[in-house]
Structures are given as C-alpha cells and as structure tokens.
Amino acid sequence: MDLLAQHGHILLILACVFGLFMAWGVGANDVSNAMGTSVGSKVLTIKQALVVAMVFEFAGAYLAGGEVTSTIRSGIVDPEAFTGQGHLLVYGMIGSLLAAGFWLLFATSMGWPVSTTHSIVGAIIGFAIIALGADAVKWDKTAVIAASWVVSPLCGALMAYLLFRSAQRLILDTDDPFHNAKKYIPYYMFAVGFILSMVTMKKGLNHVGLDLSNTESFMIATGIGLLVMALGILMMRRIEPDPEADREFRYASVEKVFAVLMIFTACSMAFAHGSNDVANAVGPLAAVFSVVQSGGEVAGKSPTPHWILLLGAVGIVIGLATYGYKVIATIGEKITELTPSRGFAAEFAAATTVVTASGMGLPISTTHTLVGAVLGVGLARGLGSLNIGVVGSIFASWVVTLPAGALLSMVFFVILRAIFGA
C-alpha cells in the first residue's frame, strides 16, 4: 500500500505503455489473418481492407471487448488471493504484458505463427503461480478457457461446413447459379447483420451507456440486418453476367455476386477480432488501473472503464496503419484459393464463433478459429488442397507458447518485484 502510494503512478504509466505496445502488436500482426482472407480473394484491396479493419476493429474492441477484458483482468487470477498484496498483482500484470510482447516479437522474428491470446493467458497463469502459488489461479475458469480453445475451431469448422453446403445446394449446384445467387445471398447478408448485432448487444453495451432489454436488442438487430440486406442488394444490382470471364471459368460472374457478401463478412471478421483480442492488451492494464486507483484493493467486479478499451482500440488501429497492412498483403498473396463463395462461409462462421466467445467472456484465438472454418469448407470438398500438417503445428504452438509465456512472465515478475519492492 505504501508501495502503491509511492510508485502507483509510475506503475500505471508503465502498464499503459506496455498495454499500448501490445495493442500495437495485435494490430500489426494478428489482424492480418482476419483480413488476409478478404485481400487474397480479391474482394478488398489492401487500402480498403485497412479502412474496414480500422473502423470495425475499433468498433468491436470498444463495443464488444468488455467481457473478455474482464476475464483477462480478474477471471484467471483469483483477486481474493491477492488481498493485501495488490502490488504483486500489479507487477504480475505488467510483467505479463512484457512477457507476451517479448514472445510476440521473438516468435515473429523466427517466422513462427503465434497466438497473442495464448501468450497472455499463459503469462498471467505464470506470474500468479510464482507470486502466490497454484491457489492464486482460478483453475476451473482456466479449464473452461482451455476447452474453448479446442471447441472454437471445431465450432468454426461445423458452421463453415453447413454454410458452404447450403450455398452449394441453393446457388452453386443449380441450373442458374447467377440468378440464384442474387436471390438467396440477401438472406445471408441479413444473417450476418442480425447475428453479429444480436450477440454484441446481448452481452453488454452497458459500458457505453445503453441498457437494452432483450426485445429491444432483437428489434435493433433485425433492423441492422435489414439495413445490411438493403445495402447489399443495392451493391449487387450493378453486377451483370460477364460472358468473357465466364468463358474462362463458368462461375466467374457468380463469384462476383458472392464478393459483395464477403465484404460484409470481412467487416464482421474485423469486428469479431477486435472484440476478442483487445483484451490481450488492455485486460492487464485494467487490472493494474483498478488496484492502483483503489489504493491497493483488489476488487474483482468493478466495471472496466471505457477509456481503457478506447486505448486498446487506438493501439490496434495504429498497429494496423504502421505495419499491419504489409502483413495483410503478404498473407493475402498466399490465400488466393479462397474465392468469395468459400471465403464468406469461413469468415461468417469464424466471426460468429469469435463474437459469441467474446460475449461469453472467453479469450480465444481468432486465427485458429478461422483455420477450423477453412478446414470445414475443405471437408465440404470446396477447396482443391489443404495442408493439414498445419493442425499439428497449431498443437505444437500451444505446447510451446503457454510455458514460454508463463516462464517469461515469471522472470519479469521477479525483476519488477526486485525493482519496486516486495
């Protein structure tokens, strides 16, 4: 408590700086997987993808990032265990940010795919154990989170499989794919607008001051769905069959119609990603802030101040603008096989899964969910070839990232404790 009175401000500033740095990292690196699919399928140019990402990542982070931020802040460590020793929590959270950031830099320089979510969760568990022992960790909640890491790609796979099969049956495998596309795709557009709004509103726009009842949420969601559908129909109106392109590939014109749908799913991917990943950067910051502000008390349930989410959102956008667009371009070059009719299924499935997880307060990996969704499309025989060795490498990355994050976090915790005092 004296410690906090003495060093509180410095620690808070450190937390803000490192939190901002993590957010920058998320924008620079992580968003690329979410947006790369849209660039690879030529639905968006890099500039357009950047604009979409900046707007919707921000919106997702600010409007829907609260629950996961709460989990990172106080859902993994047991705040009760830190009573009277709030400063340890502060060291640990700052250390976690450093650890995750370090790991992110290192793995990226080695060319390894890394999940920011897994890094930060591993880091938090790490410092909690070394600070106060295994009892400081809420193992039941942690188990649920670990389970969600397995369930979310499976859920993405199942949804994407069903979505793509429905598109095959209703549109692609019919006598007149082009006109069936114009007929049925508006319904998919409605679904995108409706489902994403509904899930977002159900769990809390409280922090922006909107307290909506279920009926109100339903009606607003329906309204948004209809708006999206109307906008989509307008955009599709201008598309006519292109006989020249169709000679090369009979479904070229149909894919152009799907491309409009994929613009909307691209927005939803950015939104979903922002809602889940902003917490990786600002969850620890929120924890530090609440301890420092209350002068040492570790309250679990006070709401996350919205300026913290704002900080995270801004950090992500800066990361995107300064570096992220390059990574998006690189990844987009490799994902050219994901044409709009496949891409929308994968993106819609992944976005819905991620936003639902965000609503439930579960930090998951957007990238792994998207991988699951793409595999789902592949299982519906929608893609020429998929490298399923990647699944093995994902498991391998879990095995490496969690201990790495934990160990680094322990190291930084000890260092901080030595500097600022136990």
């Binding site: 990226t108 080695m110 991988v371 020429g384 070839s385």
Partner: protein
C-alpha cells in the same frame, strides 16, 4: 522478416492447375501430329524432321510437368478427391504424349511413304484421333468448375456429357481404322512387305492414341464416381 501464419500455411498448392497444364502440353504433342503427317505425305523430310523434334521436345516438357506434380504432393496435403485418382489421371494423360512421340519417331525413322490412295484417309484418321485428345482436354478443363460446385450434380452431368462425346470420338476412330485397314489390304500386294507391316502398325498406333485419350475420360469418370 518472415511472417509465420497458420492460416497462410494452411493453403497448399492446388494440383488442379498443374494437372490441366500437363494435359494441354500432352495435347500439343498430339496436335503436332497433323502437320507432321502432312509433311510425311508430301515427303518433305526437313519439315517432317522439325515437326518430329518439336513433338519430342514437347513430350519432354510434359514429363517435367509430371515429375513436378508428383514431387509436390506430400501425404499431409488434404485433397478434395483421392490422391491415387489424381496420380492415375496424370499417368494416363502422360501416355497420350508418349504415344504421339512414338508415332512420330517411328514414321520419321523409316522415312515412311504413305501410298497415294491412303494419304487422304490417313490424314483424316490422324485428325480424328487428335480430336479425341482435344475432347479429353476439355473434360479435364472442367476440374476447377467441379471443385467450385463441390462436385455438385449439375456440373457432374455436364462432365459426363463431355466424356460421352469423347467415347463417341474414339468410336469414330475405330471405324476409320477398320476402313483404312481394308483399303490397305486391297493394295498390300503391290507394296513392299516390310513397309506394309509398319503401315499396319502405324494405323494401330494412331488408334491407340485415341484409346489413351478415352482412357483419360474413363479415369475422370471414376474420380467422379467416388
């Protein structure tokens, strides 16, 4: 700075486009037989030699494509249709190129003279065989449309029609083969016996080219059946 991404690593190189490129190359070998036969009939050995060498070069290129495709098919690649089917298809496509090379090599090696009476039917016959090869290319060209619809019923019907046409083209070459053999039989006593034997052989080989093109269609049909 290398960027690792599980998502980017997920997409393997699809073997479809290389497979289509391979059969186009094999067909180029077959197509070349038409100008080759024309120059053999005209006894223009220089032109014939050029054509024969061109066919050999194209066949080598097809072989190289085949080896590339085989190299790039690791077990960890999950394909939308069985790997064995793809490899079988590749093998039968390659046989078309090989046959074209064999025909040109044999004819040119013997400086084969086509009897005047057989010149026109022979040219027509070679053209018919090449048409079968062209039809096979058309059918294989539908592979990306097949994947686009996830092997949907409509597309399959379309491809089956193409394969049916291929069968008819092969049937046509069979009939032409019988006709030419009959014509040759009528005049064989007037010709050198060894030349006659090789003429019969070439007639058979050209028919075999169409057979092999048809077999590509058959492989494709088996792929669809799964």
């Amino acid at each position: 700075m290398p960027i690792g991404s599980s998502l980017a690593g997920l997409f393997g190189r699809s073997p479809i486009k290389p497979l289509q490129e391979h059969i186009r190359k094999a067909h180029q070998c077959a197509e070349m037989l038409v100008p080759f036969t024309e120059s053999m009939i005209a006894a223009d050995w220089q032109l014939a030699s050029d054509a024969q060498q061109r066919i050999s070069a194209l066949e080598k290129e097809a072989d190289e494509l085949k080896r590339e495709i085989r190299r790039r098919l690791p077990k960890s690649l999950f394909l939308s249709f069985p790997r064995e089917d793809l490899l079988d298809l590749l093998a039968s496509q390659d046989k078309v190129a090989n046959k074209a090379k064999d025909i040109a090599g044999l004819m040119y090696g013997r400086r084969m003279t086509i009897p005047a009476a057989l010149a026109e039917p022979m040219l027509r016959y070679v053209r018919a065989s090449v048409a079968a090869s062209s039809q096979a290319v058309k059918a294989i060209g539908e592979l990306d449309e097949l994947i686009e619809t996830g092997f949907g019923g409509h597309e399959i019907k379309l491809v089956e029609k193409l394969i049916e046409d291929l069968d008819n083209l092969e049937q046509d070459t069979d009939e032409q083969q019988i006709a030419i053999r009959t014509q040759l039989f009528a005049i064989e006593k007037e010709l050198h016996p060894v030349d006659v034997m090789f003429l019969y052989r070439i007639i058979e080989e050209v028919g075999e080219l169409a057979d092999r093109a048809q077999r590509v269609g058959g492989q494709l049909q088996m792929l669809l059946a799964r």
